[in-house]
């Protein structure tokens, strides 16, 4: 049987970071195992920006963030295999791998780092009542269809749940010409980041209905609408509030769950609360030598923190290999409970603006009358006031999209703007982006359109496509 010091199950943000740290600590007999055709995990389809503010002090798109790690992996020639599924992990840390090239292979490892990420909660799991027509997608699936498969999902869209992926998709769908009729959230507060409420919903006039939910899906072929009700404080539908909203597409953004089928097979105990692997302070599970990191441990808000978690876990795994990390369980990781970033909601009459000028990402509370700013609070440096002023007087935005590629392995490549453009010109810029046609191969950083509409911003490719 083949042997390996450390197997890293999943080549997304956590796995890539873990591999780099292990390598740099001198642990070289490692392998990243990835089921997809390329590394990067879910970042591949997250073409929007907002990644890397903490880690790199830059506002990157998902593919660009992943690229930073993949380049380092390739520089060091760290071994990885794509198109390979792990079908089983035994408590003795024997992995079963399945691939076209190698068939079924078993590997005895000394340590395993579980970085399988998470999956989306589905309609069936939420037990949303009604019929089961076509046209109901989870937000991540919708994102993949649009950004990787060049697929238009529908014209009239309702979004259930205000998770970040749903908010991002509300903007993406709107930019591509679909009409998002509303985002309905069962809780009395949004579950996505305030920044995404602002730049994905408010910018486009998409209404957010709090304390509302879908009480029935209607349509026996393609969905033709949903029934929506207000809910009380126990989240029960209030009778008499039900109304019908017609739509041809329903997108669910109702939560993520750590992916842990393999962990369970290996005898790893799961945390009832986070649904991720239960770990000690070193991210080690109850099975000695099996570690869990990133979203497979619990669902993180920011990818930057997922990378950090991968690195921390790699340090622990390296120590474990040397015998300097105790294999006994210490109390469950205290940070899993306090993992959520604090939510910040503005007082009535004030506007919440998240400053994106620096990695602090301050939440500014701005009170203004017309273009006259009365007060700015929450900023940790004077730049915040400047940002608030520009935001009130002439708001600027960047956004991400896709352009058509001829002869590539995928029909689309993701792009973003190199500099913000006036918010009221977004749709004009979109029209220009739709006209762009590239020829494969394209490389990350290529300029797809210079100085678009004379707005002093370039359309930049954010992914390498062969």
């Amino acid at each position: 049987m083949k042997t390996l010091d450390v197997a890293i199950v999943g080549g997304g943000a956590a796995g890539l970071a873990a591999a780099l740290t292990l390598w740099d600590r001198g642990v070289r007999d490692i392998l990243i195992i990835e089921r997809e055709h390329s590394l990067g995990g879910i970042l591949r389809q997250c073409i929007h920006e907002g990644f890397g503010l903490i880690r790199f002090g830059e506002n990157l798109s998902g593919p660009e963030y992943a690229r930073r790690f993949i380049e380092e992996i390739e520089k060091r020639v760290i071994p990885y295999c794509c198109d390979t599924a792990v079908t089983d992990i035994s408590p003795q840390k024997v992995l079963t791998l399945v691939s076209r090239r190698e068939g079924l292979v078993k590997i005895q490892t000394k340590a395993v780092i579980l970085t399988m990420g998470c999956r989306e909660r589905t309609r069936g799991q939420l037990a949303i009542p009604g019929e089961r027509p076509a046209g109901v997608f989870t937000a991540g699936v919708a994102q993949a269809y649009m950004n990787l498969y060049n697929t238009k999902l529908g014209n009239d869209v309702v979004i259930l749940g205000s998770g970040d992926v749903g908010l991002i998709m509300a903007r993406r769908l709107t930019l591509e010409g679909s009409r998002v009729k509303g985002v309905y959230e069962i809780l009395p507060h949004p579950s996505g980041l305030p920044r995404n409420i602002a730049q994905c919903l408010d910018d486009y006039g998409i209404p957010l209905y709090l304390s509302h939910t879908v009480t029935e899906i209607v349509g026996d072929r393609r969905i033709n609408g949903v029934k929506i009700s207000a809910v009380d404080k126990d989240l029960q539908a209030i009778s008499g509030t039900e109304r019908f909203v017609s739509c041809d597409t329903l997108i669910l953004s109702v939560g993520l769950i750590p992916e842990n089928e393999l962990s369970a097979g290996a005898g790893v105990i799961l945390d009832e609360k986070t649904k991720g692997a239960l770990v000690d302070g070193a991210n080690q599970t109850n099975v000695p030598g099996i570690f869990a990191a990133g979203n497979a441990r619990y669902v993180h808000d920011l990818v930057d923190n997922v990378s950090l978690d991968g690195e921390k876990t790699a340090l622990a795994a390296a120590a474990w290999l040397k015998g300097t990390l105790s294999a006994s369980l210490i109390p469950a990781n205290p940070d899993s409970a306090s993992s959520e970033t604090p939510r910040f909601f503005p007082k009535p009459g004030a506007r919440l603006i998240r400053c994106i000028l620096c990695p602090n990402g301050c939440d500014l509370e701005v009170v203004a009358q017309g273009e006259q700013i009365l007060s700015v609070t929450g900023n940790r440096c004077p730049k915040g006031v400047e940002y608030a002023e520009s935001e009130i007087r002439h708001p600027m935005r960047t956004f991400a999209s896709s352009v058509s590629v001829e002869g590539g392995e995928l029909p689309l490549v993701s792009v973003r703007l190199s500099a913000p453009v006036p918010r009221d010109r977004i749709f004009d810029v979109m029209e220009e982006i739709k006209k762009i046609r590239l020829k494969a191969p394209v490389r990350i950083g290529d300029i797809a359109c210079k100085n678009v509409l004379g707005l002093e911003s370039d359309v930049v490719v954010t992914k390498t496509l062969k």
Partner: protein
């Protein structure tokens, strides 16, 4: 004449397909007219998937007779047709004296019907059989079992098809007329914007014999044949499907003590390791509405938890519903299966009415019985080329490691996992896409492979399968259907694809 057949079977469900397969043993030209785009969209694919023991039906009834017969031959059928079947047994769990009386009656009835091995078990033995169940005693039926209803129906249909039966999907019968020597049957495409008879897409078939195996529409077809007066009501039942991690807690179906008309809400293990909970029974007149209301889901969970207290909302992966066509008399009393030839009204037409539970268990004997009725009246030479063996798609998940290695060695597509939850490989998806019946819907792939049936419900694999469908069948994105006519999945491209015509 192109559309002339010796025998036309209306309805490609489990019974229509079993009838088709039995008739294919003779030299006759057979067609099956199915209004849906696949064979198990309605009752055949929407049930508890239990192979019944035959004790629940009146002595001397066709239900009792065919159920016992079908049960006995299920092992052989599963082997011949390659579908998942597990003779796992089943318990009817009771607590009160009244329950005990009812179970004793059921047992006597079962013995008279020919159900084998029925016995009463005490609490201790019940808990040896099903450790996680709650109850004081039970009737144990060791001959009961479970099967995969999709695989079963598909297997019958594919075997019929391989032996020369022609399936027409999207052909809803809109009129039947008698003419000399047989029948003229007019069809139209099913779906929104239905065409009137004679309109666009309307087709005419002629045949000598007709079999009404229309399931939920048996009353309508019976009426078209001129056999009027059957009252058919729908009994709709909703179900929950639980995650596979609940499977080990349920080695066999657990039922409450039945009443005369209704089996009660039960929990059932499935051949793939999930658990289903249901059904309730609601009388309905709309035979096409399969929505599941919230209060029914809550009721199912609450009710079944009394028998088996392991139903947790976080284990829900899906819900579904099915409708049983029940033939009732003027007092609303549910009748036996009706299988008849009414010479005076419709000669050479076999009319099947009220084919409800235990139709799945009984399908093969019913098929044989119908074939026998026809052959009593008209003799056909035997079809010497008939091959009763049908090989299904090899399932990677069910294979052991050695078999898996062999599968990948023979076809590298078995090394490419498409559906993570159910471990379905590209090879299986491709074989499903190239199915002998020519089904091209996404749910057609689903019922043939189990892809998209797992806990992520297609979150990982659906887009890959949609792409394979597109590539293999040369479909445009807008032509990919979920299950029925009009159930399109996509509206087109985000960006016009250069050099890609088939989008």
């Amino acid at each position: 004449m192109d559309n002339y057949y010796d025998i036309i079977i209306i309805g490609g469900g489990v019974i229509g397909s079993a009838v088709a397969r039995e008739l294919a043993r003779y030299q006759v030209k057979i067609a099956v007219l199915e209004k849906n785009l696949d064979v198990c969209y309605e009752t055949s694919g929407r049930n508890s998937a239990v192979v019944h023991g035959g004790f629940a039906y009146d002595e001397g009834s066709l239900k009792a007779r065919f159920c016992v017969e079908g049960n006995r031959e299920m092992d052989a059928a599963a082997k011949e047709l390659d579908f998942a079947f597990l003779r796992c047994g089943k318990v009817l769990v009771g607590n009160t004296d009244e329950d005990m009386e009812q179970l004793k009656k059921t047992m006597i009835q079962g013995e008279k019907n020919g159900s084998r091995g029925l016995r009463l078990v005490d609490e201790a033995e019940l808990h040896r059989l099903v450790p996680a169940v709650v109850g004081k005693f039970a009737m144990f039926s060791p001959a009961s079992g479970i099967l995969d209803p999709f695989e079963f129906t598909v297997a019958l249909a594919e075997n019929a098809c391989q032996n020369g039966v022609r399936y027409y999907f999207d052909h809803e019968v809109s009129a039947i007329e008698r003419e000399s020597g047989g029948y003229k049957i007019t069809t139209r495409p099913e779906g929104p914007g239905e065409t009137p008879a004679g309109g666009k897409g309307s087709e005419v078939f002629r045949c000598r014999w007709v079999v009404n195996a229309a399931g939920l529409n048996c009353g309508v077809i019976s009426h078209m044949l001129g056999i009027k007066g059957y009252r058919v009501i729908g009994s709709k039942g909703d179900y929950l499907i639980l995650d596979k991690k609940t499977g080990p807690l349920l080695p066999m179906p657990v039922y409450p003590v039945p009443s005369n008309t209704y089996m009660g809400i039960h929990v059932t293990n499935t051949t793939s390791g999930n658990v289903t909970v249901g059904p309730n029974a609601e009388l309905v007149t709309d035979f096409a509405y399969y929505g599941v209301p919230r209060e029914n889901m809550d009721y199912l969970a609450e009710s079944a938890s009394r028998l088996w207290p392991h139903i947790r909302k976080e284990d829900y992966i899906r819900n579904y519903s099915g409708i049983l066509p029940k033939w009732v008399d003027e007092n609303g009393k549910i009748q036996d299966f009706k299988i008849e030839i009414r010479e005076e009204l419709a000669p050479r037409a076999v009319n099947l009415v009220g084919m409800e539970s235990p139709g799945l268990t009984s399908a093969i004997p019913i098929g044989r019985y119908v074939a026998g009725m026809i052959r009593e009246r008209e003799s056909f030479p035997e079809n010497k080329a008939f091959n009763p063996v049908r090989k299904g798609i090899p399932h990677f998940q069910r294979a052991d490691e050695r078999e898996r290695q062999a599968l990948i060695a023979a076809d590298p597509d078995f090394g490419e996992l498409i559906c993570r939850c159910e471990q379905v490989t590209k090879a299986e998806i491709l074989r499903a896409i190239r199915n002998p019946l020519g089904v091209s819907t996404l749910s057609g792939i689903k019922v043939r492979t189990r892809a998209m049936m797992g806990r992520c419900q297609g979150g990982y694999c659906q887009m890959r399968i949609a792409k394979l469908l597109q590539e293999e069948l040369g479909l445009r994105k807008t032509e990919i259907l979920h299950n029925r006519t009009g159930s399109r999945l996509f509206f087109g491209d985000i960006r016009e694809e250069a050099g890609h015509e088939n989008t």
